[in-house]
Amino acid sequence: MSPLTAGDQAVRHFIYRHFVEHARAPSKVETADHFGFEEKEAERVYLRLHGGNFIFLNPGTTEIRMAHPFSCIATAFRVRANGQAYFANCAWDMFGIPAALGMDAEIELHCADCAQPYRLEIRNGRPAPLSGLVHFLLPFSDWYEDLIFT
């Protein structure tokens, strides 16, 4: 992972704060307007952040798909916290959102195996109920080969 410039770091943090406050990623125009630069520069920063695995862009575009653990698209993992309803990328990331926020949360999900709906909570910093498993199909060494599949 290459080190970030101060400017790229500021954009990375802006993207995350925007997600926290609005439950969605900022558009390139919103990012450009916030920092007072051109949309093309926002695209260049997004591409560098993508290259460093700080965010994930939809393939072939400069549109943000993931700012891990947040998802820009609807998924089977919905996390209610901070007065917002966020989508997580996967079963692990549904825990990643309250972990990142440092907040309790209510989680609604559909089991990837049986498609049954489930509810989990993070209360006082711990999960409940404790029944269930989180399955990782790919070994860590393969996680970043195809993040959508992962």
């Binding site: 770091q9 990375r12 989180v134």
Partner: protein, 53 residues
């Protein structure tokens, strides 16, 4: 056929805490391979599946 690995709910939560608790920090700058190994190791996630290469 891949079998993968399964974590129980507490393990998955603890992994999420280790991985994401500093993600919103303005200074978060990613993780080195050593950082990742340390997170996995603390949770007992060892072996080829969790190997950081």
């Amino acid at each position: 056929m891949r079998r993968g690995a399964a974590l129980n709910i507490e393990q998955a939560w603890d992994l999420a805490l280790g991985w994401y608790r500093d993600r919103l920090d303005p200074d978060f700058a990613g993780r080195s391979a050593g950082d990742i190994r340390a997170i996995f190791s603390r949770l007992g996630l060892t072996g080829p599946f969790w190997a950081v290469v």
